[in-house]
């Protein structure tokens, strides 16, 4: 597929051929830093002074470059598609190659950053368990009740990924066996012919 670049976008990127190729590489580096850690006005001002151009031009150039990289990574463009999309900007061959190299080097990273953006449901992280035998309680003596206590750790979803929520749960042995048989059926579902057909054909 080809990217369709808006007129405004093309205008922003029009700055790139006017500078040295080393500068384009520098912009690429700023772009990646932007994606990883955000940016600050000082970086733009510094670059603008060195190149003797207004700050907005530098800012638009970097943002345009970043948007180009984002969209290409989102759609997983092949090399050919990327070059064809960039062709419309009318850059020379060397600049196109620089942009391509920038894309190829970084698109995996960009995709993994993007994949953290969507809000998600809590996801399974870990299950800790222990087997206890209850011998007595305040109301009742001389019991022999096996009890499985479990701690389920889940990631919090759209919040910070390093925090886990934990829930303490109990189950008796028969419930445990029921859980195991149900989940094994779930695992088997992915290996049915129906499942395999879908996984194979939607790519």
């Amino acid at each position: 597929m080809l990217l369709v670049l808006s007129e405004e976008h093309k205008e922003h990127l029009a700055f790139l051929p006017k500078v040295d190729t080393k500068v384009v590489g520098e912009f690429g580096r700023i772009t990646m830093e932007f994606l990883r850690r955000g940016t600050s006005p000082k970086i733009y001002e510094g670059a603008a002074k060195k190149l003797c151009v207004p700050v907005e031009i530098v800012q638009h150039g970097v943002e345009g470059l970043m948007f180009l990289m984002l969209e290409s990574s989102k759609h997983m463009l092949s090399e050919v598609d990327f070059l064809d999309s960039v062709l419309v900007l009318g850059f020379d061959e060397e600049l196109n190659q620089i942009l391509l190299q920038l894309y190829l080097q970084h698109h995996n990273q960009i995709r993994s950053i993007l994949s953290h953006l969507p809000s998600s449901l809590p996801a399974y992280h870990n299950l800790e368990w222990r087997l206890d035998i209850q011998l007595a309680s305040r109301l009742c003596r001389q019991q022999v009740i096996p009890m499985l206590t479990m701690r389920l750790l889940l990631t919090r979803g759209c919040d910070s990924h390093s925090d886990y929520s934990s829930r303490v749960l109990q189950a008796d042995p028969s419930t445990l066996l029921y859980l195991i048989s149900t989940l094994e059926a779930a695992l088997a579902a992915i290996k049915t012919s129906h499942g395999r057909r879908i996984l194979r054909n939607i790519k």
Binding site: K74, W129, L139, Q143, V144, L148, L152
Partner: protein, 200 residues
Amino acid sequence: MELSESVQRGLQALADASSFDQSSFQALIDVSHRSLLSSHGDPAVLDHPELKQIDQILLKQVHTAATTFILEAVKQNADKSTISSSLEELTFSAEKIEIFYSIYQVHFNSPAHFLTPFLSFSSSIGRRPAQINDISWRLQYHMKNGQVDKVNEPFYSISLNSEKDGCSEDMNFTCTMEQLQDLVGKLKDAAKSVEKASQM
């Protein structure tokens, strides 16, 4: 069995033949067992035809003493001789002891611990973590989302239903196939250790 003074007094009143003949005694013991085993307190529990002639205040004292005695016996898993000797000390006649024990036995049959209502009754009172009731799953294929195209990954949505103090709660989470295999592996380890423990 250790019983407080007020319980002992209530039971002695129950033992007294002039206040409770055998049929009203049987009715009261029956009613006491049923009020322990039902899940809701029933204000009409003492409205039994056999108990209508008895002074209502005495009836309540005796009912409280009887239910406390039954709970104590259940708590300690008392056998027939323990119950009989405790009741004898409180001046119960042999016939009343027989009547009591035959009703008690129907509801609280010891020592088969695992299979009796005794077990679920006493275990359901008290604090404990949420109990797992049910689990359901969905297998889905994630194709794309607003930020990333061509994701193309299968994943599971699991819903774990648990209950605590009568409130049911659903825990929803997602996992990949590898994570689900990890979860099932851990549950199987737990099951194996339960099996080993039961063989000791």
